[in-house]
C-alpha cells in the first residue's frame, strides 16, 4: 500500500507540474492551451533521446527537455499571436497531435510506436523499487516546490500583473503601453518550459515512453486539475492535481466494493464517476477549490 501511495504521489507531482505550467499560459495570460501534452511529450522525448543515445547525464537531459519545450513554446506563441479563445484551443490541440504523429512516424529518431524503453532513472537498479520511488518522490516534489515558489513570485510581480491585464483585456493592456505580444511569448515560453521539464521527469520515472502515452486524455486531466483547483492561483494548480489523482485512484476502490456489477460496468462506472464529480464541481464551484485572489501582494 505504501509503495502504491508513493507512486501515486509521484504521478500527482507530474500532474501538479503540468498544471503549474498550464496555469502560466492559461490561468494568468488567458491563452487556452489544449496542446500541453505536446510540450510534455517534447520534453520527455528530448531528455529520453539525449540520455539514451548521447548518454548525457540525467540532470542535463531534464534541463534540455525544458529548453526544447520552451523553444517550441516561443515559436508556437508567435504563430498563434493573433488567435484567441476557441481558435487558439484548436490550433494548440492540433500542435499536440502533430507532435504525437511525428513521434509515431519518425521511426529513425523516436523508434515510432514501439517507443523508447530502458530510459535510465536516478539510481534505478542500484536501489530497491520502493527506494527508487522515494527518491523520485523527493525529486518531483522538490521540482514542484521550486516551480511553485518561482511562479508564485512571478504571478505577484509587475510581470504577472501585466499578464493578468492581458487576460482581462488585451487592448487595454496595449493602450497602457505594454508590448502584448512580447509578454505573451514570454508567458508561453515559461509555461512550456515547465511542461517540458515535467515530461522529462516523467520519462525517467516510467523508463518507457511511446506516442500512445501522449494522447489528448492527459491534456484533459490537466485542464480538469487546473479547473478544479482554481484557474489563476498557483496553489490551486497543485491542489487540483492532487484532487484529480485522488479522484482517478479512489474510484478504483469505490467501484470495487459495489456489489452486483460486472467488471465492464465497474470500469464504465469509474469513468462516469470521474466525469460526474467534475461536472458537479464546475456547477457548484466554478471558481475552483482555491479561487484566485486578484488583489495581490508582492509575496505569495
Amino acid at each position: 500500500m505504501d509503495a502504491y501511495l508513493i507512486a501515486m504521489l509521484v504521478f500527482a507531482g507530474f500532474y501538479a507540474l503540468m498544471a503549474l505550467g498550464l496555469n502560466v499560459i492559461w490561468g494568468l495570460t488567458g491563452m487556452v492551451n489544449l496542446g500541453l501534452v505536446g510540450f510534455f511529450a517534447l520534453g520527455a522525448y528530448a531528455s529520453a533521446l539525449l540520455t539514451t543515445k548521447l548518454f548525457w547525464p540525467m540532470p542535463l537531459g531534464w534541463a534540455a527537455g525544458a529548453v526544447v519545450a520552451a523553444a517550441a513554446g516561443a515559436v508556437m506563441a508567435l504563430i498563434v499571436a493573433r488567435l484567441r479563445g476557441d481558435y487558439l484551443a484548436i490550433v494548440t490541440l492540433g500542435f499536440a497531435e502533430v507532435i504525437r504523429l511525428t513521434a509515431s512516424n519518425e521511426i529513425w529518431l523516436t523508434n515510432g510506436t514501439d517507443g523508447i524503453s530502458g530510459i535510465p532513472g536516478p539510481w534505478r537498479g542500484d536501489v530497491s523499487p520502493p527506494e527508487f520511488n522515494l527518491i523520485y518522490l523527493g525529486i518531483v516534489w522538490t521540482a514542484v516546490a521550486v516551480v511553485f515558489v518561482l511562479l508564485a513570485r512571478l504571478s505577484h510581480s509587475p510581470f504577472g500583473r501585466v499578464l493578468r491585464a492581458i487576460r482581462e483585456d488585451e487592448d487595454v493592456a496595449a493602450v497602457a503601453g505594454k508590448p502584448v505580444l512580447w509578454f505573451k511569448v514570454r508567458a508561453f515560453t515559461i509555461g512550456a518550459a515547465v511542461l517540458g521539464g515535467a515530461g522529462a521527469l516523467y520519462a525517467h520515472y516510467n523508463a518507457y515512453i511511446a506516442p500512445d502515452g501522449f494522447a489528448p486524455l492527459l491534456t484533459i486531466y490537466i485542464v480538469l486539475a487546473l479547473t478544479a483547483g482554481g484557474v489563476g492561483a498557483m496553489r490551486g494548480a497543485i491542489i487540483g492535481a492532487l484532487f484529480v489523482i485522488a479522484l482517478l485512484e479512489s474510484t478504483r476502490f469505490l467501484s470495487a466494493i459495489i456489489p452486483g456489477v460486472s467488471p465492464v460496468q465497474k470500469a464504465a462506472l469509474r469513468e462516469g464517476a470521474i466525469a460526474l464529480s467534475l461536472i458537479l464541481l464546475l456547477r457548484f464551484r466554478p471558481q475552483g477549490l482555491i479561487p484566485e485572489k486578484t488583489r495581490t501582494k508582492a509575496f505569495p
Binding site: 500500500m1 505504501d2 509503495a3 502504491y4 507512486a7 501515486m8 504521478f11 504523429l101 509515431s104 512516424n105 521511426i107 515510432g112 510506436t113 514501439d114 517507443g115 524503453s117 530502458g118 523499487p129 516510467n206 523508463a207 518507457y208 511511446a210 500512445d212 502515452g213 494522447a215 486524455l217 492527459l218 484532487f243 485522488a246 482517478l248 485512484e249 479512489s250 478504483r252 476502490f253 469505490l254 470495487a256 466494493i257 460486472s262 467488471p263 465492464v264 465497474k266 470500469a267 464504465a268 469509474r270 469513468e271 477549490l289 482555491i290 479561487p291
Partner: protein, 401 residues
C-alpha cells in the same frame, strides 16, 4: 465564509479517503492470505471489445482451481484493473495491483504499448507477466525471464500469412497498414517472403488509424492492379475500408487479421460487402479439449484467441505455483516451463493439473490457445493458424494449419 466552505470540502474528502483506505485494509487482511493474481485487460478504449471476455476466461479458471482446493490449500483471488488501452493508465493500474493487491503474477495485457510500459514494473517487483501483445520488441526487453507471450510475434504471423497467400496463387499483394509498432516490420517481412517466391508487394500505405474516410487510399489500391489487399489494421478502420473497397468495385481477395474483423463486423456491414473476406489468426486449438470446454463455459459468447490465451495464462500461473510449492512471482517464473513443456503427462485443465501435481507427477499443459511452449526469450512456439472466409454473415473455416 469561504474558509469554512473549503474546510467542509476538505473534511468530506478526508472522510472519503479514510473510508476507502478502511475498505482496502479490510480486503487485504480479511482472509487467510489467499494467493492473488492480477489481470490487466482493456475494459475500455480500443481494446474494449476484447477485455471483458479475457477477464471472464481468467475468472473461470480461478473458480475451477478454487473448487479443486486451490494452490496447496490456499484459495486464489483474481484482482483486476482496467488498463483503458493507455500506457499511463495501465501503469497506474499495474501499480495498484502490484503494490496494493500484492499480485504474484500479472496477465492479460493487450496493447503492446501498455505491455511495454508495465513490463519494467513487473521485472523490478519479480512478478511474471503473461501477455497477448504482438510487438516483436516486447520479448527483447531485459525482462530476466518474467515475460511469457502466448501470441506469436508479428514477424511470424505475417510470414505465415504471406506463405499461405502465395499458396493460394496471390502474386500482387497491396499492404494497407494502420500506424502501429508492426506496420514497418510487417512490410519488410511481406516484401521478403513474397519476393522470394515470385510475388510482390504491389503497394504500401501506412494510415492513421483514426481516419474516417479512405477515398484516396482505395483509389491507389484500385490503380495498383493487385489481386489481394492485406488489411493490416483494426476493427474501426478495416470496417470503413471494406465498405469503400466494395463501393469501388474491388474484386480481388480481401485478407485481414481476425481481430480486425471479428463476427461483430456482420452487424455493421451488409453481407454483400463482407462476403469473400478472408481472415487469419493464430488459432486457438479448436479441437483441443481445453478449447471445447472454454467454449461451453462461454455459451453464446464467441471465444476469441485472446480469451483462449488468457485462459491459459491463468492456468499456467496456477499450475506453476503449485509445481513450485510456493506462490511467489519468482517461483512461478521458474516453474512455468516445467508444467507446460517436457515429457510430463498431458493435461488440458487446471483441475486435473492440480490433482496430478499434488500426486507428485510431472505435467505438460496443453491449453485452449495451443501447446503453450516457450522459447528462451518467452515467445510462444508452434502455434496453429486458422483461415476463415465470410459467407452470408458468418465465418466458415477454410483451413487450420
Amino acid at each position: 465564509m469561504m474558509q469554512t466552505t473549503i474546510g467542509r470540502r476538505g473534511a468530506l474528502l478526508g472522510a472519503a479517503a479514510a473510508f476507502s483506505s478502511f475498505a482496502i485494509g479490510g480486503r487485504a487482511f480479511s482472509q487467510t492470505t489467499p494467493v492473488v493474481f492480477g489481470a490487466l485487460p482493456p475494459l475500455t478504449g480500443a481494446g474494449g471489445p476484447y477485455g471483458p471476455a479475457m477477464l471472464r476466461a481468467a475468472q473461470g479458471v480461478v473458480e475451477a482451481a478454487n473448487s479443486a482446493g486451490g494452490i496447496k490449500g490456499r484459495q486464489i483471488r483474481l484482482a483486476f484493473e482496467d488498463d483503458q488501452t493507455n500506457p499511463d493508465a495501465g501503469v497506474r493500474g499495474a501499480r495498484k495491483l502490484i503494490d496494493v493487491d500484492r499480485v504474484q503474477a500479472l496477465m492479460g495485457t493487450w496493447a503492446s504499448s501498455v505491455t511495454t510500459a508495465v513490463a519494467p514494473l513487473c521485472w523490478e517487483n519479480r512478478v511474471p507477466l503473461f501477455t497477448v501483445s504482438g510487438a516483436d520488441s516486447i520479448t527483447l526487453l531485459p525482462h530476466q525471464g518474467h515475460i511469457f507471450r502466448t501470441q506469436p510475434n508479428s514477424r511470424l504471423q505475417i510470414e505465415t500469412a504471406s506463405k499461405w497467400l502465395l499458396g493460394k496463387g496471390a502474386k500482387r499483394v497491396f499492404h494497407m497498414a494502420a500506424q502501429s509498432p508492426f506496420a514497418q516490420s510487417s512490410q519488410d517481412v511481406m516484401t521478403a517472403t513474397l519476393g522470394a517466391a515470385g510475388g510482390a508487394v504491389s503497394g504500401y500505405i501506412v494510415y492513421e488509424r483514426d481516419k474516417t474516410a479512405f477515398r484516396s487510399e482505395v483509389d491507389t489500391i484500385m490503380k495498383s492492379n493487385s489481386d489481394t489487399v492485406m488489411l493490416n489494421g483494426y476493427l474501426p478502420d478495416v470496417t470503413i475500408l471494406l465498405r469503400e473497397l466494395y463501393r469501388a468495385g474491388f474484386d480481388g481477395r480481401r485478407f485481414t487479421f481476425a481481430y480486425a474483423a471479428p463476427a461483430s463486423v456482420f452487424g455493421t456491414l451488409p453481407n454483400e460487402v463482407t462476403n469473400g473476406l478472408t481472415t487469419f489468426q493464430p488459432s486457438p486449438d479448436l479441437n483441443s479439449p481445453a478449447f471445447t470446454r472454454l467454449k461451453a463455459a462461454f455459451g453464446s459468447t464467441e471465444v476469441d484467441p485472446y480469451s483462449a490465451q488468457v485462459h491459459d495464462h491463468a492456468t499456467m500461473a496456477i499450475l506453476a505455483a503449485a509445481q513450485g510449492g510456493d506462490a511467489t512471482g519468482s517461483v512461478i517464473r521458474d516453474n512455468v516451463r516445467k508444467i507446460c513443456q517436457g515429457d510430463g503427462e498431458k493435461v488440458d485443465n487446471v483441475t486435473d493439473g492440480l490433482r496430478l501435481i499434488a500426486a507428485g507427477r510431472a505435467v505438460n499443459f496443453e491449453g485452449a490457445s495451443g501447446p503453450c511452449e516457450f522459447d528462451e526469450r518467452g515467445d510462444i512456439r508452434g502455434t496453429k493458424f486458422r483461415y476463415e472466409i465470410a459467407e452470408g454473415g458468418a465465418y466458415r473455416v477454410l483451413e487450420l494449419v
